[in-house]
Each structure stands twice: as structure tokens, then as C-alpha cells.
């Protein structure tokens, strides 16, 4: 807080040294790119871990050459042990949820484009912003370091349910040092995201340029603003939970461990703790986290689609209200993760109702997208394809949410692959598609070069078909009773499902490999792509009004833009074509001037 004084004047001069320009940069654009780079690295690591798991699930006794390099005891003869499988699963989920789905759509794109879209030269607290990234990066390093210490990373799952997570090494490999590093990493991550949220909220409220009313903010900016409000409250709850978990480990307290637990004939030195307390604290963060991952994607995809539909959404305001409604409701539904936790059934009922209610704003958002797409002359390019893919994944993954919202059905399905399929589609793949849509759309502004469209479309179709090939069968597996978190399905009732598992494994390997096309496209286009104009998509919002591409250090040169129009004035007649930019003083006749 005390640092605020320093950054009052906002202005900082363009950096001159390599370190201040590219490493410890105060420029929100560089910080955004750093977040993106970290998320890309984390996504590749997470994907690699999922490959290892998939191969093991398909061919349980097969040796994976070189696997022993990743673990001390987890792969004798390069064959994965059950414990190592669980460690990989935990790390895959933690890396993906925290360091990819939270950082890429929110922190990366938000840092780069929020200040530009509101017409500011930077965020109000650049030092906090720099700390936000580096703290998050340290969190990532701490998490990954658990591969190399003690008995390896924790195997407790990304939800770290107590008492397993709080018992220490006696709970299994990685349950000692591994859990402490995990909780430390997440607590550090929370600090980073709180600093980021502080900047996002003040940027949106205080840094808007002349004429930029709240209703004139692009939907992407609304997405980031709503997300930062959620981040502020959600991460502020997860951090205390992590502190208490660490204390249970290192100080011998009993916040989350009950008494009378005997492991290996040894009475554990704990008493009276509440195992459900951890779940309450965790899911109070955990459910908003799902929306922290998806709401920026909703904003980005709306933003991208409108530029390609050449018309505004049916209702800008209802979209914003729905995203806000999702955010508010997300705090009241978290108990639906705990239907099988032994929680009072009355509570289950109480959490089931808002869970069904939250499908209403989700459905409204989807209907607005579909209704707006209807009859639009959509430009087909990589960005808009991934926008459509996002909607498709969001619907496909969301529909199963209707079933899971009801305790009576959830009790059957909760511990099966049905839930795994549900959240991978609606939160994982959908959010990733939002990231891809944003990347193909904004890359020209970020690097001044176009991405390769052909490679982009190949990437889309392989990812789109591949994601369904991987995750649709999960639902079927779940209905067939295939429990999740198991490392092998050996001779029992799940034996007939193994061919399907193998199909999924092959599909996952191909879909994952297809992502390398994207990475190649990124690197190739960064250096060899066709030069981009200032406004290659004929879009309207302020990021396309910068004097140069990429934008100069202070975004708009020596004069901030003034805003004259609503964000999405497409389908109008102006001197430049069928759109009018927000910063253009030109008067146009429009039916869509909502705000």
C-alpha cells in the first residue's frame, strides 16, 4: 500500500538498459508478454505431463523411455508407479489451473490490452505490476522445484483435500516437502494475483480517458475488470487456507487434521481438526476460480467475434450484466463440489439451487452469441474460428453441468470421468480456445506482424476435432462407471473400457502435437510474418488507434485519445468503411448506439 505514493504520477520514462526493458520492466505491455511467455511454458509442461499420464492409462505396464529422469523412486525401469501417476496428475492440474488458465487470458492479455483499451498510458502502480509477474514466476519455480526435492511433488490432487494433505510424509511420497512447496507456491501466486487485481481495478476505474464511460469499455475490458474483482476476493481466501495448511505441516497445529488417525500402526499427533474446513475454504476460492479462467475468455471471444461479424452483439449491456451475474453467483455455488464430501444433505440442496440458477446467465451469454452470429457475414479466420470453437466447447462442457448441479445425479457421477470430461471442456479447452482466439487476433498489434493463417486454421481444426475426440469419450467412460484418479484399470469391470482409453491416449498425443504447430507459428510469425498494419481487422477499439504498431512505450504518444463512440460500431457507414473507431470524432448514423 505504501508504495502507492511513488507511482502517483503514473509516468515512468522509457527504459534504456536491457534489464529494465525486458526483465524488470515497468511497462504493462512487456509484463503482459512475460505473463504470456510463462503461461506458454507452463502449458507445454502441463501438456507433457498429461501425455505421460495418458500413455500410462492406455498401456499400464509399458516403459516410457527416460521417465526415471523425472523422479527418484517413481519409475523403476521407466515404468510409472501408482504414486508417481498421482504426482503427475496433481502437477498437471495445478500448473494448468493456476499458471495457464489464470495467467494467460487474465494476466497476460489483460496486462497488455486493458490500459490501451481504456486509453491510459500505463497501469497506475507499475512497480506492483512488475512485482505481480515476478512473484507469480517465483511461485511457478517453487512448484516445479518440488520435482527435485525429497520424495517429489505432492500426490494429493490440485484440491489438496485434508487430512491427506496435512499429515506429512507419512501420507505418501511428496506429502511432506511436496505439499509444503505446493502450498507455498500457491500462497505466493495469490500475492501476485492480488497485486495484479489491484492494478486492474484501479486502471479500469481511474485511468479511463476522456469520453470512455464504463459502458463504452470493450467487452474484453469488462471481462478483465469483473475477473479482477473476483480475483481480489477469491485469492484473499485461498491464501489464509494455504497458510493454515503450511502450519499444520511445519508447526504441528491441527487445523485440518482430526484426531485418532492411525497410519502404519502409528497414532498421528493431531487432534480435533476439521477436514471439511479445508474443502470449504478451498472451494470458496475454487469455484470463483473457474470463472476467473472463463470470464476473460468470454470477453475476448465477444471482442474478437464482433470484429469478424461486422456487427455488435444483440445486447452489450445484457452480456456485461450476465458476466457480472456469473461472478456474483460463483461465490454461492461452491458447495456443489462437496456433494459427496459428507456435508449435510440440506447444505447440498442449498448449494444445488444457486448452481442451477447460475446456468441462466451462462445460457443468456450463449444465446446472445448465437443470436448475434445468426445472419452475420462472419469472416472466417483463425481468430474467429477459435471464437466459434470457444462457444462450442463452452456449450458442450456446460450442458453436463446441468446434470452435475443436482446432488442426486452428482453422487453417481462425481468420482467418475464424467466430471473430468465436464471441467476439461468447459474450463480447460474453452479457456484455451479463448487464449488462442486472443492470440491470433492481437498478435499483429503485439509484434507488428501477422500470424500465418493457414497454419492457424490447421491448428484450429486439429485442436477442435482433437479436443472432442479426447474429452467426449470421458463422459461415456463416466457413465460406464469409470472412476477417476485411478492409475490403472486392470482385470475388473473396467477392462472393457481400455480400448477407449487407448483411443483417447492416441487422440491426446495427436492433439497435443498439433499445439506445436501453434508454437512454431508464434515463433515463425514473430520474425518472418507479413508486416501488420495499425488496424488489420478494421476493428474499432482503442488498441487499434495507437500511433505505431506495436504501440510506443506510453501507448498513445504525447496525446491521449478521446473517445466518441460505443465500442462496437460495426455495420455503419463512415468514411473508412463499415465501422467507426472509438477514437474517431466522425459522426455516424447508427441503430446500435446503446450506451
Amino acid at each position: 500500500m505504501h508504495d502507492m505514493a511513488k507511482h502517483e504520477a503514473v509516468a515512468h520514462h522509457a527504459p534504456t538498459s536491457f534489464i529494465s526493458k525486458h526483465v524488470f520492466s515497468l511497462d504493462h505491455k512487456v509484463i503482459g508478454k512475460q505473463y504470456y511467455g510463462m503461461a506458454l511454458l507452463a502449458a507445454l509442461v502441463g501438456m507433457f505431463l498429461s501425455w505421460l499420464m495418458r500413455v500410462h492409462l492406455g498401456w499400464t505396464n509399458a516403459a516410457i523411455p527416460g521417465l526415471h529422469l523425472l523422479t527418484k523412486n517413481g519409475a523403476p525401469g521407466d515404468v510409472m508407479t501408482p504414486e508417481f501417476y498421482l504426482q503427475l496428475m496433481t502437477m498437471h492440474a495445478t500448473i494448468m489451473v493456476f499458471f495457464v488458465l489464470t495467467t494467460a487470458p487474465f494476466a497476460a492479455f489483460g496486462n497488455y490490452f486493458l490500459p490501451i483499451q481504456v486509453g491510459a498510458e500505463d497501469m497506475p502502480f507499475p512497480h506492483f505490476n512488475m512485482m505481480s509477474f515476478w512473484v507469480t514466476f517465483v511461485g511457478f519455480l517453487v512448484l516445479v522445484s518440488s520435482f527435485f526435492v525429497g520424495t517429489g511433488p505432492t500426490l494429493g490432487g490440485w484440491t489438496q483435500y485434508a487430512p491427506l494433505s496435512a499429515l506429512g510424509e507419512v501420507g505418501g511420497p511428496g506429502e511432506g516437502t511436496g505439499v509444503v512447496l505446493w502450498a507455498l507456491s500457491i500462497a505466493i501466486f495469490c500475492v501476485g494475483q492480488l497485486l495484479g487485481s489491484l492494478n486492474f481495478i484501479t486502471t479500469t476505474l481511474d485511468m479511463r480517458t476522456k469520453g470512455m464511460s464504463l459502458w463504452r469499455l470493450p467487452l474484453s475490458a469488462w471481462g478483465w475488470f469483473i475477473t479482477s474483482c473476483m480475483g481480489l476476493t477469491a485469492f484473499a481466501v485461498l491464501m489464509p487456507a494455504c497458510i493454515l495448511l503450511i502450519l499444520d505441516h511445519v508447526a504441528g497445529t491441527s487445523f485440518f487434521v482430526t484426531g485418532n488417525i492411525v497410519i502404519n500402526d502409528q497414532m498421528q499427533p493431531h487432534s480435533g481438526g476439521s477436514t471439511l474446513l479445508w474443502q470449504h475454504l478451498f472451494w470458496f476460492f475454487g469455484h470463483p476460480e473457474v470463472y476467473i479462467a472463463i470470464i476473460p475468455g468470454m470477453g475476448i471471444v465477444s471482442h474478437v467475434l464482433m470484429a469478424n461479424m461486422r456487427k455488435p452483439m444483440l445486447s452489450h449491456r445484457v452480456l456485461v450484466y450476465s458476466m457480472g451475474g456469473l461472478a456474483a453467483l460463483s461465490y454461492m455455488v461452491y458447495g456443489h463440489h462437496m456433494f459427496v464430501s459428507g456435508m449435510n444433505p440440506v447444505s447440498s440442496l442449498a448449494f444445488s439451487f444457486p448452481t442451477l440458477v447460475i446456468t441462466i446467465p451462462s445460457t443468456i451469454v450463449v444465446l446472445i452469441w448465437l443470436g448475434s452470429l445468426y445472419g452475420a457475414k462472419l469472416r472466417i479466420n483463425s481468430a474467429s474460428l477459435f471464437g466459434l470453437g470457444f462457444i462450442s466447447m463452452f456449450i458442450a462442457g456446460g450442458v453436463s453441468g446441468f446434470f452435475l448441479a443436482q446432488p442426486s445425479i452428482d453422487i453417481m457421477l462425481h468420482a467418475t470421468y464424467f466430471v473430468v470430461g465436464h471441467f476439461h471442456l468447459v474450463m480447460g479447452v474453452a479457456a484455451m480456445f479463448g487464449i488462442f482466439a486472443g492470440t491470433y487476433f492481437w498478435f499483429p498489434k503485439m509484434y507488428g506482424r501477422m500470424m500465418n493463417e493457414t497454419l492457424g486454421k490447421v491448428h484450429f481444426w486439429l485442436s477442435f476435432v482433437g479436443a472432442y475426440a479426447v474429452f467426449m469419450p470421458f463422459h461415456y467412460l463416466g457413465l460406464a462407471g469409470n472412476v477417476r484418479r485411478y492409475q490403472a484399470f486392470t482385470p475388473d469391470y473396467m477392462q472393457p473400457l481400455i480400448p477407449l482409453h487407448r483411443f483417447i491416449t492416441v487422440a491426446a498425443l495427436i492433439t497435443g502435437a498439433a499445439q506445436l504447430i501453434f508454437v512454431y507459428n508464434l515463433i515463425y510469425s514473430r520474425f518472418k510474418g507479413a508486416p501488420a498494419t495499425d488496424n488489420p481487422w478494421q476493428a474499432t477499439s482503442l488498441e487499434w488507434s495507437t500511433p505505431t504498431t506495436p504501440p510506443p512505450h506510453n501507448n498513445f504518444g504525447d496525446k491521449l485519445p478521446e473517445v466518441f463512440h460505443d465500442p462496437y460500431q460495426y455495420g455503419v457507414e463512415s468514411s473508412v468503411g463499415d465501422y467507426v473507431m472509438q477514437a474517431s470524432p466522425e459522426k455516424v448514423k447508427t441503430e446500435h448506439d446503446e450506451a
Binding site: 500500500m1 505504501h2 484501479t202 485511468m207 469520453g211 502450519l247 487445523f255 476439521s274 496525446k559
Partner: protein, 236 residues
């Protein structure tokens, strides 16, 4: 205004412009906190007149601290609810003295803030040197009392330790140490803010909004402490 940078002042004509601004469905702007900026939009002028983000940022910070302590509170209530090992714990009496010290610190800071506010508002009854000297003195008082509070909390921990109550002795002592320690950490953060305010006042580059933000934070630490004290007194 010789010694201290002033807050942005209202720009003549802005309110007129505002009243003349056409309403909805028109191409002119109707919002943006920076709308008070000169119409030219030239960067130096914008910087001079833009509102200080610290005055918004402080509420964001306080909101997140409130959430964190709400989480700790619910943890305490849930933990107590199912506990078989909940033992009564007598709070060390020094806590009540510490409370008074923290209040006095807040009072001193408020005194300094008023004085800075007065000369920033243009009352020049004294020479420029004494203008900053008096509030600086009160700020030092606030800082010392704040340090005294943290020291007092440390004494409270020593007293509990002397009774044989450690962090892991029972849930009551666990919650006592955790809540008071995390509050003390936040107080230390506030002390860092005070140090920064003092150094900027001495260099005559203090703006009023960081001082206000520090003061709000500091008063919030009072309120939070009273809340924690009541919670600990009732529950432990």
C-alpha cells in the same frame, strides 16, 4: 505551496462542460474519471490533473484484507464447531494496553493529516519550515506508537509462552498466534507506509492522496484489531 506538491485542482469550465454534455445516444463522452482533463488531451496536462489512483487503490487493498480475515474468522468458527479439544484461554492483559497505544497512534496520524491538509489547502499562518515540521513530528509519534504496539504484541506472545501455550498446544493458542501475527504483519506494512510518507514529507514531495491512503489503512488496522480482540475474547 512552496514545500509540498498539491492535489490537482478543479479546472475552470469543467462543470459547465459537464452540464452541457449531451445525454445518451450521442457521440460525446459521458464518463471516465479523467474527464476533468483539459480538452486537448496533452499528456503533461493530463498527468497534472488526473485523479490519484491511491485513493481508489486503498479501498481495493482494504477489501482484500477484509476477505482474508473473514476467511480466518470462518475457519475459527468451523474449527470450534466440531472441536473436542477447545480450551478456554485467558487473553494476556497487555493486549488492552496495546489497543490504547494503537488508538493513540491513529490519533497522532490523523493530527498530522489534518495539518498537512490545512497547509495544502492554502492556510499559510506559519513559515514554510514549521509547516512540515509539525506534521512530521506527529508522524514520528504515530510511527513510534505503532512500533510500540508491535512490541507490545510480542510481549503478549512471550507471556503466553511463559504459560506453556505454544502455537501447536491447542486450537485456541493456534488461532491466537496466527491471527495476532498476521495482524502484526499488516501493521508492519503500514509502518513501512508511514516511513515512506515521512521521507517524502521531508523531501517536500508528498502528495496528499498517499498520506490519506496511509491514514485510512492505519485506521483500518485499529478497527481490524478491535474486531480481532472481540473475536478472540469471545471465542477463545
Amino acid at each position: 505551496m512552496a514545500t509540498t506538491a498539491n492535489e490537482p485542482v478543479a479546472i475552470p469550465g469543467t462543470s459547465e462542460e459537464r452540464s452541457q454534455r449531451p445525454r445518451r445516444a450521442d457521440s460525446s463522452g459521458n464518463g471516465g474519471r479523467r474527464n476533468g482533463v483539459p480538452a486537448t488531451g496533452k499528456l503533461p496536462a493530463v498527468k497534472k490533473y488526473s485523479p490519484p489512483p491511491a485513493s481508489t487503490g486503498i479501498w481495493v487493498v482494504l477489501a482484500s484484507i477484509t476477505m482474508s480475515f473473514a476467511a480466518f474468522t470462518s475457519a475459527l468458527i468451523v474449527r470450534q464447531g466440531g472441536a473436542t479439544d477447545w480450551h478456554h484461554l485467558t487473553l494476556p492483559p497487555i493486549l488492552y494496553l496495546n489497543t490504547l497505544v494503537l488508538f493513540a497512534s491513529s490519533f497522532a496520524l490523523e493530527k498530522a493529516r489534518r495539518q498537512v491538509g490545512a497547509f495544502m489547502g492554502g492556510q499559510k499562518t506559519q513559515g514554510p519550515k514549521t509547516q512540515t515540521d509539525k506534521p512530521a513530528l506527529w508522524l514520528y509519534v504515530a510511527l513510534s506508537l505503532g512500533l510500540l504496539f508491535v512490541g507490545g504484541q510480542y510481549v503478549a506472545w512471550l507471556q503466553l509462552r511463559a504459560q506453556g501455550l505454544f502455537l501447536n498446544t491447542n486450537p485456541n493458542s493456534s488461532f491466537f498466534y496466527v491471527l495476532t501475527a498476521i495482524h502484526a504483519l499488516h501493521v508492519l506494512g503500514g509502518l513501512g507506509g508511514l516511513v515512506r510518507v515521512i521521507s517524502r514529507l521531508n523531501q517536500s514531495i508528498l502528495r496528499k492522496s498517499p498520506l490519506d491512503a496511509t491514514a485510512y489503512y492505519w485506521h483500518f488496522m485499529d478497527a481490524l484489531w478491535v474486531y480481532l480482540l472481540l473475536l478472540l475474547w469471545m471465542k477463545l
